[in-house]
Subunit: 326 residues, 2 copies
């Protein structure tokens, strides 16, 4: 099948063939400063990015999150308009939304977190509407391991695939709970520094071997501008990041990757290793859009042609005609 | 053509089909310390690595270099035994060979140069035996731009392809001469830090655009453990580095890349962009062997099967079945 056919099949397949996704993650205000400018209190959060990006692949997305009374209804409506069900987003009228403020360094690879106001997140107890509880795919954005465990336990049936993100903070502060989540999921998505911290191994190959013994069958290690590695059993697949002229704002790139990854898997309803490779390419493509403008801006204006062209750029980038020996 | 067929054709093709390579570079003593151990006064230098690696692809390699009387004849014989012509390696009996000593940091990505004794290199004036002067491919290892220019001018006919390496030192100290070499070559091979220093651009895409206007038609930017990018006109191709469990000694990895790159091009006698992509993969494969043991050790014991398997690993690493839209 050619790329064109693959993409056409991907976008033309009827709703009945696609699977539902439950996304758990923050919906927040972000204030961001990069060498290219500033954005104040724009929509952010792992749940927002993941569901927004996944909405390019399927219309059956169910978001679990919490916001305060200060969160504009227009932001939630934007998600609804893109096919994201926000019934599972609790609105606590008398509290404030989660707020994050960060400033990127000149090289865009490092950032300082200036403010993290948990607000509503401090006491977040995820509630799953009944319609969510039989979801096919479950995407656990970076949250406390305790919340991630709660969500898995509150599903009526074990989802076909559970994907989780996490961060170094939980490795340090709640290692036991984190180890428990690892035993409950299929795919772990973390970055290279986190993989090293988790295993005390500098070699990512050694780190991956250790992590695959902790529970997940699949491990994705994101290396930012250096691409992403997918590990499964003794296999490894590498997807490059697209070399870009400018990176305006890296915020949300990792969540965009996750959204594209799970969105593509749900759309194609195929969790084979070969399809996961394709999903990693789609995730990388969506991340490459994310960084082109501030916050979620670029992710609200894409067309199917844009995504098709971008995936084609990835094919061009790594394609060479030495065929595989079977 | 399958990989197997490609490789078989590559190794089975008769001598008459392959082209000759002239390699100019240092032949030296290296003393190396890494977290895994030490090696004292082993054979090193860009010319040694490049010609040794290229010898896996063609037996028509002509090395131009200089050593002192202290340099063991057995080292040169090792190169001769691998098919490298050392007629162009001057031996200055009463002088000392170039000596480099370095120590790698724990992460293996950075190193301190502890000693650089130029010795014979300080007054090196390359002499090309007559048999070298009609070489098809010319590989200029990292040396002063003045020496690189001399070699080009001393060739009887313009080689089919001229590839050059350089380093940040020449960008700072002899920028005019370096700019002149750029106008005389076809392919420039440098690392990411050097590309940024040369252009004052952080984005490698922007840096590449600027460099391609300085003379070379092709630019390879090596990113160490993060792979290599090949730029040509508006095209970009990315070859990953193989994720390895251990890197014992990175010394010579860049030169091994260059040796595999030019060796494959000479072997196949094809300088099309598509074949350069394959050459970048072969270069990456040879670099991945280099770092597995100290110095040149791993590069003296490879078999054709080893190389075939390693290239196959690269295919596995990036291969996914979304075909290219033409």
């Amino acid at each position: 099948m050619s790329l064109l056919e693959t993409i056409q099949r991907s976008f033309q397949s009827s709703e009945s063939e696609t699977s539902s996704i439950v996304v758990v993650g923050t919906v927040a205000f972000d204030s961001i400063e990069t060498p290219f400018g500033k954005a104040e209190r724009i929509i952010g959060g792992t749940g927002a990015y993941i569901s927004l990006v996944a909405s390019y692949f399927t219309q059956n997305i169910n978001l679990v999150s919490v916001v305060g009374g200060d969160f504009p209804k227009s932001h939630l409506k934007m998600l609804n308009d893109r096919g994201v069900n926000t019934e599972g987003v609790q609105i606590r009228e008398n509290e404030k939304s989660f707020f994050w403020q960060g400033k990127y360094h000149l090289d865009m690879n490092t950032r300082d977190t200036l403010v993290t106001d948990l607000n509503v997140l401090a006491t977040f107890d995820p509630v799953l509407p009944d319609g969510y509880k039989s979801g096919d795919f479950l995407m656990l954005g970076n949250l406390t391991p305790a919340i991630q465990i709660s969500v898995i336990k509150r599903m009526k049936k074990r989802p076909k695939l559970i994907v989780m993100d996490t961060m170094n903070f939980w490795m340090k502060h709640t290692p036991k709970e984190l180890a428990e989540v690892f035993t409950m999921v299929d795919v772990l998505v973390i970055n290279d520094a986190e993989a090293r911290e988790l295993t005390h191994e500098y070699s990512l190959v050694k780190a991956a071997k250790k992590i695959l013994q902790m529970g997940p069958s699949y491990l994705i290690i994101k290396k930012g501008e250096h691409g992403a590695l997918l590990f499964h059993e003794s296999n490894v697949f590498f997807a490059p990041a697209l070399p870009l002229e400018e990176v305006f704002d890296p915020t949300g790139a990792g969540d965009s990757f996750a959204g594209g990854f799970i969105g593509y898997l749900a759309k194609t309803n195929d969790i084979s290793y070969d399809n996961m490779k394709r999903a990693v390419i789609y995730g990388s493509a969506m991340a490459s859009f994310c960084v082109e403008k501030f916050g979620t801006e670029r992710l609200t204006e894409l067309t199917e042609d844009d995504i098709e062209e971008r995936v084609n750029d990835f094919v061009d980038l790594v394609q060479f005609d030495i065929a595989l020996v079977d």
